[in-house]
Symmetry: C2
Subunit: 280 residues, 2 copies
């Protein structure tokens, strides 16, 4: 057991998977789930993702040694502020939001003395949603980025890192919130926008001929628009920067196509192939 | 048996798969393969993709009722011209190139009287290459776009359509070469360039964190740069047009992100999700 009581605010795919993994590995005495619908709490209990649940976040976090905020990104700062007055001294608070600068900045300000906040972002998930899709092995082998700022307590950072490892994470990486946001803008947020724009720029007639390549390239465009709206709004600066870089890469290729510069075009495509293959 | 003799110029993935499918379904008396290396001809014979082979295209096509040019795109017009003088009267010639306007225009000019050319593009394939990856079921259920111009002979178009159906094609679509090129620019060439640019615009550090979404979105960037160079060079006009439309779609989303227009952004992402889901 690492924590006596863990409270999870938001028992969806990620929150539910954390609960299920904690319970399976017996990492906590009790797991309390906080939801906004009684039905999802019942579902989470039935699936073994939490021990008990409540709709009242302030009551739910009372006495917890670890509080994990796993709500949609835009709700995280508000929940942090709301529950702050009932947090136990010595409690560690984290979140699992996909953007960090805005969240970490706001939550660090909300935490009372004696409570440590450390931001987390497990790079795991799927286009599915809800506790019905939760899996205790969701984090197995995954990368978890944790944030470090000048306010971060080293002991809390270490303890939370051990917690993620216990949940199955393959690698823990420590970054500043800004570095985190730049990285995910490039490898997650930009690809999402690029896929959405691909789908939107094709004509209805052309879409009828979409085959495997197009489907693979645009699969992420089928993700939840609300989640992505939140991500875009909370990571504006880095997404705009990534989009500007992307526009430059596209313009470079366009020029080579327009000029019919076969040899240079081939070099550019070889560069992308080599980089893509290095990911395997 | 539909054809007494079929000659396939270029016995790679597509040419080899056509040969294997023809032989399996007994659609021809003889299948002759024309290659540029003795070893690939031997391999094609060993795999049952052709009955016999030659390095000499002019000799190989002699007496054939159907000639299929399945070489890389940039070599197709040259082979058509080269073999034209030894084509039998009544022969049908087709190609399987991924771009059509340039190829169809050149091949229609090269054909002697009594020989009919019809362009084909089976929307099947993979990032793999060579006869070692050939499969007799490669075309099963696939779409084949065939081209029709004012020079196209209707009987030849019909006969070739039946041939593709016999090979397993699920749907035959007739388009002008220009319509074809516009469609594939949007659903195949643009996504390829978009993926290459995504890979090239990410930093080395960010690439370390690439997960499933990024890998799916950029899988096509691992395809052969030589093939894609040829495609880009022979479909310049439509690719540039598709890239311009794409840049506009991206700029629209960028503006919404920059302005923090959450509601409009959500609508734009909902539109792309709905269109993407309609593909399933």
């Amino acid at each position: 057991m690492i924590f006596k009581k863990i409270a999870i605010i938001g028992v969806g795919l990620i929150g539910g998977s954390i609960g299920a993994a904690v319970k399976k590995r017996r990492l906590a005495g009790t797991v309390v789930g906080i939801g906004h619908r009684a039905s999802s709490i019942d579902e989470a209990i039935a699936r073994g993702a939490i021990d008990k649940g409540t709709l009242d976040a302030v009551k739910g976090v009372a006495g917890a040694d670890l509080v994990i905020i796993a709500t949609p990104v835009c709700l995280i700062p508000g929940f942090g502020k709301k529950v702050s007055r009932s947090l136990k001294k010595g409690c560690i608070v984290t979140d699992v939001g996909s953007t960090k600068s805005s969240i970490v900045g706001q939550l660090e300000k909300s935490m009372p003395a004696g409570v440590d906040f450390v931001g987390s972002h497990p790079l795991a998930g799927s286009e599915k949603r809800g506790v019905v899709s939760a899996r205790e092995d969701l984090f197995k082998g995954s990368v978890v980025i944790m944030t470090k700022t000048k306010k971060t307590d080293k002991a809390a950072l270490k303890k939370l890192g051990s917690f993620w490892k216990s949940l199955g994470a393959g690698r823990i990486v420590i970054k500043s919130p800004e570095e985190h946001d730049r990285i995910v803008a490039q490898i997650s947020h930009l690809p999402h926008i690029a896929a959405a724009a691909l789908v939107n720029s094709a004509s209805d007639e052309s879409l009828e001929f979409a085959s495997t390549g197009f489907r693979d390239a645009t699969r992420i465009a089928a993700s939840d628009p609300g989640i992505w709206r939140d991500i875009c709004v909370t990571n504006r600066k880095e997404i705009v920067r990534a989009l500007d870089n992307y526009a430059r890469s596209l313009a470079k290729i366009k020029k080579l196509v327009k000029d019919g510069s076969g040899a240079k075009l081939r070099r550019e495509l070889e560069r992308s192939r080599a980089r893509r293959e290095s990911l395997r």
